[in-house]
């Protein structure tokens, strides 16, 4: 290799970096102190990512003959590609450009300017010493499998699946419940337009069910995921419905004849019933029933088989077992949705103890014309119409004891409830809110409308809901104790019925799902985006996308938009056909491998094979993702990772530790 000629570029990032780090000093220092290490150019610039900044690098490569570039700026997650591409435009191999993160790792996390500047120098020294050890690399090209896996058949997943399938590409849609539709299928009306949820959802559902490009797998769960972007192998468990699907025509006779009646805690939120062989609702897609094995009399006592006797097509099959299906896909969209917060965890609100305190989902089912009360709003006794109703916002949201975030949809949902109660019962309505949040299109107009319907709005957090009457007026009522912060006084409001607008929380197993697909979760448990603003539907794992409430609470339009956005990204990958991957791969030195087999079972991508004849292990570069697990594990050090050699890492460490430099003289900043 020729003599190293390294250019160092230190970015101000406006005041993001320059506000804390003395960038001019860092640039000057790099030229003076790192000259012996090959630094021949060192400059600072207001915004290195601007076209001016990029041209600076290109010009210096061309005119100064730079053969290495270090950009000290933000995290490589943001602009590594920018600067590598700029280097490449000037004819330098992109992998000879290295970034030092002096924003995320320095200016944003320190306040002492002198120390921060010193640390920035250390980061630059590390990057300079590392880049000196870099070799030119070429990207690896992999084909993209045209098929896509969508996990979760709620509205976000449905939208994503339809977008991709309509573009002509195959989709596997996996849903763990017996039918697609998700939470939206449980609702009666949607805010703010009061469309009937079923009327707008079911056409989409049947489109999915009939789409020639969509392979719908309901009552199914993903068991295992292998591979990498473009080439995932997914094993799906199709749980047994105890039905021969080829014979079932969805007539529903089995459901009518089944003698077992069970409280439906799932779809009916515990206020309705279903049979032991059932479809969750009439418009379920697919139309096949599911036999609920733990509750089926035949499976418990060994007799009954009513469903089998009456089935006109002989489709019932008590012997049917789970089926495992392997599919190969290029991309995966996770739209696994949310759970509702269990309002029993807020004991002072009395849910589960005071009969006429309802959860928001119970109320949705009650309002639904296809629900247990056929849309009648009644008390827990099933007959009495309430004369006064309270709706509590933020039940479990914006509360450090429960969930510290805003669940985003509850204000609008509570307004919708108020409207429905008004329309169907004429009852007096109180909404208890902390802040009213109606930022969507036509949302605040809906709030105005509900205000005009003479709903009372009390700004304050409900402290208790009880049935302990203090006077005659409160006798037999639920009493809501609340501080009315607009009046500045405590109030006790006797009501017939209270609805709790429960918080949205991540699915109970979201952590396990994230681990299975190799993505991460926020501290609250929602799936983490690649970038919260600029890339909200991607994850840090290439080829895995996220959409809908799995990434955080959101309303239906936002979920649908995310489903479409994720689909657009997937389609663009499919259309490209080939993906250029980072050439970061692990390689076994055959000479040094003793065949100890420590590495053999570690690879998350199954890229390691062991050759019995030669007693050495080998890594398949098409499968290897360069994660480095085997490199770290190899006791003989016989596996090396491209771009992460011992020499490169140790050179960087030596730079970071500022070895061989004079002791820093820190100026104390007052």
């Amino acid at each position: 290799m020729n003599k190293k000629r390294i250019g160092v570029y230190v970015c101000h990032c406006g005041t993001n970096i320059a506000g804390v780090v003395d960038v001019e000093n860092v640039a000057k220092w790099a030229l003076e102190e790192l000259g012996e290490e090959g630094v021949v150019v060192s400059k600072d610039n207001k915004f290195m990512c601007s076209s001016v900044g990029q041209e600076l690098i290109q010009t210096d490569i061309e005119e100064q003959g730079l053969n290495r570039v270090v950009v000290a700026a933000c995290s490589p997650h943001l602009h590594e590609k920018t600067f590598r591409t700029a280097s490449e435009r000037a004819g330098l191999n992109p992998y000879l450009c290295e970034m030092a993160s002096i924003r995320e790792q320095v200016s944003w996390v320190h306040t002492d300017k002198a120390i921060a500047t010193q640390k920035a120098k250390a980061m630059v020294a590390g990057a300079v010493r590392r880049v000196a050890q870099h070799e030119p690399l070429e990207p690896i090209h992999v084909p993209i499998n045209e098929a896509t896996l969508v996990v979760g058949g709620g509205i976000a997943g449905i939208q994503a699946a339809l977008e991709i399938a309509n573009a002509g590409h195959p989709v596997y849609l996996v849903e763990r419940e017996p039918s697609i539709g998700g939470h939206m299928a449980q609702f009666d009306k949607t805010f703010p337009t009061l469309d009937c949820a079923a009327c707008i959802l079911t056409p989409r559902m049947s489109e999915v069910g009939m789409h020639p490009k969509i392979d719908l797998m309901t009552w199914s769960e993903v068991e295992n995921v292998d591979g990498y972007v473009g080439n995932f192998n997914v094993r799906i468990r199709k749980k047994s419905r105890f039905i021969n699907l080829a014979d079932c025509n969805g007539c529903g006779i089995c459901e009518q004849k089944c003698p077992v009646k069970i409280v439906d805690k799932n779809f009916e939120a515990g206020i309705g019933y279903r049979k032991a062989i059932y479809r969750p609702f009439d418009q379920a897609i697919p139309n096949y029933p599911v036999l609920d094995q733990p509750n089926c009399t035949y499976f418990i006592k060994g007799t009954c088989k009513a469903c089998e006797k009456f089935c006109p097509t002989g489709a019932i099959n008590f012997e049917k077992e789970d089926e495992l299906v392997n599919v190969e896909v290029g991309n995966i969209i996770l739209a696994t949705g949310y759970d509702l917060y269990d309002t029993k965890k807020i004991p002072q609100y009395g849910f589960g103890r005071l009969p006429n305190v309802f959860s928001s989902l119970e109320f949705e089912r009650m309002c639904n014309a296809a629900g247990p009360t056929s849309g009648e709003i009644v008390l827990r006794d099933g007959v009495t119409k309430p004369k006064s109703v309270g709706i509590v916002h933020c039940a479990g949201s914006r509360d450090l004891n429960h969930n510290n975030y805003c669940s985003s949809i509850c204000c609008m949902q509570s307004l919708k409830f108020a409207h429905l109660v008004h329309e169907r019962t004429g009852a007096t309505i109180y909404n208890f809110y902390i802040d009213m949040r109606t930022p969507g299109k036509d949302y605040d107009e809906f709030y105005q409308r509900v205000l005009e319907e003479k709903t009372f709005f009390i700004r304050g957090k409900v402290s208790e809901i009880s049935d302990a009457a203090r006077n005659e007026e409160e006798e037999g009522k639920l009493v809501v104790q609340v501080e009315d912060t607009l009046l500045g006084e405590q109030r006790r409001i006797p009501l017939d019925m209270v609805i709790l607008s429960a918080a949205l929380v991540p699915k109970a197993d979201s952590g396990d799902v994230a681990k299975q697909f190799g993505i991460s979760c926020s501290s609250n448990g929602w799936f983490s985006e690649k970038h919260p603003k600029l890339d909200p539907i991607s994850t840090m794992t290439e080829g895995i996308f996220i959409a809908g409430c799995a990434t955080g609470p959101k309303d239906i339009p936002a979920s649908v938009s995310q489903g479409s956005a994720a689909a657009a990204r997937v389609i663009s990958y499919i259309e490209t056909g080939v993906l250029a991957l980072e050439p970061i791969r692990a390689t076994v030195s055959e000479e040094n491998c003793s065949g100890c087999r420590i590495c053999n079972d570690l690879c998350p991508y199954n890229a390691i094979v062991f050759h019995d004849e030669t007693m050495v292990s080998e890594i398949n570069h098409a499968l290897c993702q360069g994660c480095g697990t085997c490199v770290a594990a190899c006791p003989a050090g016989a596996i090396s990772g491209t771009g992460f050699s011992n020499e490169q890492i140790l050179a960087q460490v030596k730079g970071l530790l500022m070895l061989d430099f004079a002791e820093p003289e820190l100026e104390k900043v007052p």
Partner: protein, 331 residues
């Protein structure tokens, strides 16, 4: 070159046990070839000699010095530097000179604590609390003993070393092979390998020479050899839960220990591409623990008694760590 025309040879014993000296004698009749080709200039364990005899030699007059032992006191350092000056070829011979070996494990403790252990145990009669001192006033005058350093250093941390010959001690067949090589070089029949080469060892790790059957590793429990009644004579010891350092250890010993049922303790030091031996073994073993339950993992790890003594038994002084913090601060 001596008067009889034979090149001069030296061997020295610094901070070490003496096993390396025995290993050289253990080459049996080959020692006669050695004698026929070399004049012993300085070999305290084999024949009488004084430091002033060495000091009197011309620089570079000794052709070959085998230096065993680490540098623990000022006498070790003085002789190492003296022999370097007088020798053409300096070989770090055996684990102590190469990597510090077991004396190097004392780097985990400051001197005071070492003295406390040695001179104040229950079984030691030392009522006056006497400790070694580097100088002492006697009626006849001041007497001196070597000054002990806060840490043990390996030979190449003190002087320039030409070749490295590992092992605790180096296997006799490897010593014999090196002797043969040097004799052929002297006769002009062979050339020396490049400076810095590890000689008398293989190019892989112990597993390469081990004949036990190896499968994919999954470890549910670590055991010590005395904890199990019977282990499988054919299967890899590591797979049976015995901590065998073979996977990270330089080959060349013909895997004598694991083949005969004793796990490799790592005396040949790090394999050719191993930077930090202990870190490699820890990372390797952690990777194959067969559990995802933190509590169970903790319990499995508790089966590793004395991690420093297990994974850095031979090479602490030459590892990235080098010493414990307390002894380093005393340095």
């Amino acid at each position: 070159m001596s008067e009889n025309g034979k090149p001069k040879f030296a061997m020295y014993w610094a901070a070490s046990c003496g096993g390396c000296e025995i290993a050289v004698l253990n080459i049996h009749e080959k020692i006669l070839d050695f004698d026929a080709n070399f004049e012993v200039a300085f070999w305290p364990v084999a024949m009488d000699a004084k430091y002033k005899d060495v000091e009197a030699l011309e620089d570079g007059e000794i052709l070959l010095t085998l230096f065993n032992g680490g540098i623990r006191n000022d006498e070790n350092e003085h002789i190492a530097k003296l022999l370097r000056q007088k020798s053409q070829i300096m070989v770090a011979f055996g684990s102590c000179a190469n990597e510090g070996c077991i004396p190097g494990l004392a780097n985990l403790s400051p001197i005071e604590s070492l003295f406390e252990t040695v001179y104040n145990t229950v079984s030691t009669e030392n009522e006056e609390g006497i400790r070694p001192q580097s100088s002492y006033e006697m009626p006849e005058g001041t007497i001196h003993i070597p000054e002990m350093y806060p840490v043990l250093r390996t030979l190449d941390q003190v002087i320039d070393v030409d070749y490295y010959m590992p092992g605790c001690p180096p296997e006799s067949h490897q010593v014999a092979a090196v002797v043969d090589l040097v004799i052929s070089v002297v006769k002009g029949e062979a050339v020396l390998p490049p400076k810095g080469t590890v000689i008398g060892a293989g190019n892989s790790t112990v597993c390469d020479e081990c004949e036990r059957t190896r499968n994919v590793k999954k470890i549910k429990k670590f055991v010590r050899i005395q904890d199990i009644e019977r282990f499988d004579p054919e299967i890899c010891l590591l797979e049976q839960g015995l901590i065998c350092n073979g996977p990270a250890t330089l080959s060349g010993c013909m895997a004598k220990c694991p083949t005969s049922g004793a796990p490799c303790v790592g005396c040949y030091g790090p394999g050719p591409r191993v930077l930090d031996y202990g870190a490699r073994m820890v990372a390797a073993l952690a990777s194959v623990i067969d559990s995802r339950d933190p509590v169970e993992i903790e319990a499995i790890l508790d089966g590793i008694v004395d991690p420093a003594g297990t994974f850095y038994k031979f090479n602490l002084a030459h590892s990235l760590l080098k010493t414990g913090k307390a002894s380093w601060n005393g340095n």
